[in-house]
């Protein structure tokens, strides 16, 4: 790759980030500006920020690589992400969250829940969960970004990690959520352009849409030969019902992420950053198109990389994508870009991936920081002080913690890349199981009690952890706790349950606990409910 070209593109990119951050910093005057952008965000900024936060480098590289193995069945996740993650989320969750958030003057997702159920304990517990679980998610995204920068610029991983963290830290700490969202919108625009270009060039190179798909369909026997024992039926068809691949595709990738998106604290808070429903309505249009491209393209390009590597690339002829990439799933997309795309595009795509990493990271740092500052320190512990300064310190602590984790994790996990997708899935699953029943109840069930909320929250966490540590082989095996205690990699080893994602079990359990215990304990007073639900339609 041309180093002068790459350097120029990266410098322009960083200059724009610096300008946007400066603009955000100048207009951030109080805690409301710092945490919910003064509730006056533009719909384009809101929608792009929502999408860019959701999609990290691992979503493009990791899930794109996974699609090269599993095939186009992963497009179901694109459908769910648009339908549930944008349409249902914005129309049925977002509007109520915005109005109720304003009624209650909530600045964070835990504060929203705590205020709704009149419990500082619940706010503190939700903040604590985010502050404990999110550093793992943030550190794996950070690792992915730093590894990528280190490879491209041929520098040391630790140096890449330090500079990436420092750049994101400066603008998140100084400009709060305004800086996060302004830069997200810019980064999202780059991602959108990069992914559209990638799709167009790929279809053009492979002979057009239908021909490219047909060539991939004709490789069916190769797929069955390589992965048929696990249920693979070809890259353009769905895995065999109930097979190991079916379980992974349906429970972990499609349901885990597709439903998990509804209760992500870093996404929910964005609903509270706009001033009216009109902005949310407009954001639905923008978000739907953005997610279709940003998520969908990776799931089309990944499988089609098999056609390129097998037929069109002289260096890898006769090899499917996984074999061509040395059986490293995370190498498939970068290798495809470097070998199939023109050189000028490689530089653009590098900035696309950098944008994906930085946009997700900035939101994670901000969410963790406000959980520590606003939800734990100010609310649960009842300490008073300059709220904006407290939250800035919270963000800084969260960044340092994530940095140390990202620095230490590769020491324990060789290669480190597989853990990126795993860390993302774990966080999404825990959040969905712990928060979704309570969040839905807060918005739609007036008579929901604190006991019901806590029951679902605790059950969701407990069942998720049990399943991660002792049942779901993908996690229980590398974590070694199950082996240390019971002498086996999974308590369900040999059965299909070992491949079932924690969310599929933990979310219904959490829902059941919420229903069973709802109605017990103190009821929220009617005048307060009227205040909560004022103008909620």
């Amino acid at each position: 790759m041309s180093i002068p070209l790459l350097t120029t593109v990266v410098l322009i990119y960083l200059a724009v980030i610096a300008w946007l951050s400066l603009r955000a910093w100048r207009t951030t005057h109080n805690a409301s500006d710092y945490m919910v952008a003064g509730r006056r965000c533009h719909p384009f900024v809101m929608a792009m920020s929502y999408g860019a936060t959701f999609i990290s480098t691992s979503a493009i590289v990791g899930f794109g690589g996974a699609a090269a193995v599993f095939g186009m069945s992963l497009l179901w996740l694109t459908f769910l992400t648009i339908f549930i993650g944008v349409f249902i989320a914005f129309v049925f969750f977002g509007r109520r969250t915005r109005v109720m958030g304003l009624n209650l003057n909530a600045h964070t997702f835990p504060e929203f829940l705590g205020q709704r159920f009149q419990s500082r304990g619940l706010q503190g517990a939700a903040g604590l969960l985010i502050f404990i679980a999110m550093p793992l998610y943030a550190s794996v995204v950070l690792m992915g970004g730093a590894k990528f920068v280190a490879e491209i610029l041929a520098i040391d991983y630790n140096a890449a990690l330090f500079f990436l963290t420092a750049i994101v830290a400066v603008y998140v700490v100084m400009g709060g959520i305004k800086a996060v969202m302004y830069t997200d919108a810019f980064q999202g625009s780059i991602m959108f352009t990069g992914m559209v270009t990638l799709l167009v060039i790929t279809y053009y190179k492979l002979g057009g849409i239908t021909i490219a798909h047909q060539r991939l369909s004709d490789m069916k026997e190769l797929a069955i030969q390589a992965f048929g024992a696990k249920g693979h039926t070809g890259w353009t068809s769905f895995p065999t019902l109930g097979s190991e691949y079916w379980m992974v595709v349906v429970t972990t990738i499609i349901l885990g992420v597709g439903i998990g998106v509804l209760a992500q604290p870093q996404l929910v808070v964005r609903f509270m950053t706009v001033k009216s429903d009109r902005e949310l309505n407009r954001a639905v249009l923008i978000g739907g198109i953005f997610i279709m491209v940003a998520v969908g393209v990776a799931f089309i390009i990944g499988p089609l990389a098999n056609v390129f590597f097998y037929y069109d690339n002289p260096a890898t002829q006769g090899q499917i994508a996984l074999t061509a990439a040395g059986r490293n799933v995370d190498q498939i997309i970068p290798m495809y870009i470097s070998q199939a795309m023109p050189q000028w595009f490689t530089a653009i795509f590098m900035v696309t991936l950098l944008s994906a990493a930085m946009s997700t990271l900035s939101s994670q740092f901000h969410t963790m920081g406000t959980s520590l500052g606003r939800d734990l320190y100010e609310s649960a512990l009842g300490r008073r002080g300059n709220s904006m300064l407290i939250n800035k310190i919270g963000v800084l602590v969260a960044i340092i913690l994530s940095y140390l984790l990202a620095w230490g994790l590769p020491v324990f996990f060789e290669g480190g890349t597989a853990i990126i997708a795993r860390g993302t899935a774990i966080f999404f699953g825990i959040c969905a199981a712990a928060f979704l029943p309570m969040y839905f109840g807060a918005l739609y069930i007036r008579r929901m009690t604190l006991a019901g909320a806590f029951a679902g929250f605790a059950t969701g966490i407990a069942v998720s952890l049990f399943w991660i540590l002792f049942v779901h082989l993908a996690e229980s095996k590398p974590l070694l706790i199950c082996r240390a205690l019971f002498g086996v990699d999974s308590l369900a080893a040999g059965s299909i349950w070992a491949a079932v994602d924690p969310l599929v079990v933990a979310l219904p359990a959490s829902l059941l606990a919420t229903v069973l215990l709802n109605g017990r304990g103190r009821q929220v007073a009617e005048p307060f409910l009227q205040k909560c639900f004022r103008n909620v339609r």
Binding site: N30, A31, S32, R39, G71, M72, S73, L75, W76, T78, F79, I82, F83, V86, F87, V91, R95, V99, L102, N103, N105, I209, T210, I211, A212, H213, Q214, R215, L216, S217, K220, T233, G234, T236, S237, F238, K275, S276, D277, R278, L280, N281, R282, A283, V284, L285, I286, G287, G288, I289, I291, M292, G296, R384, G385, N386, S387, N535
Partner: protein, 58 residues
Amino acid sequence: MFGLEGGAVPAAFVLTVLSAALCVVYGAVNWNRGGVTEEELARQEIWDGEEKQIEDKL
């Protein structure tokens, strides 16, 4: 359909496009609906005022 096999993957393609179209149509139809109300503006001003008071005290 489009060179794809079976029913599930083509269905995912179609549903992806349809769900994006739903978002576009919904956004376009409601583009100017649900603007900010006087009451919401007043409420926001109250919260801002309260926050400023706390900061001034500190």
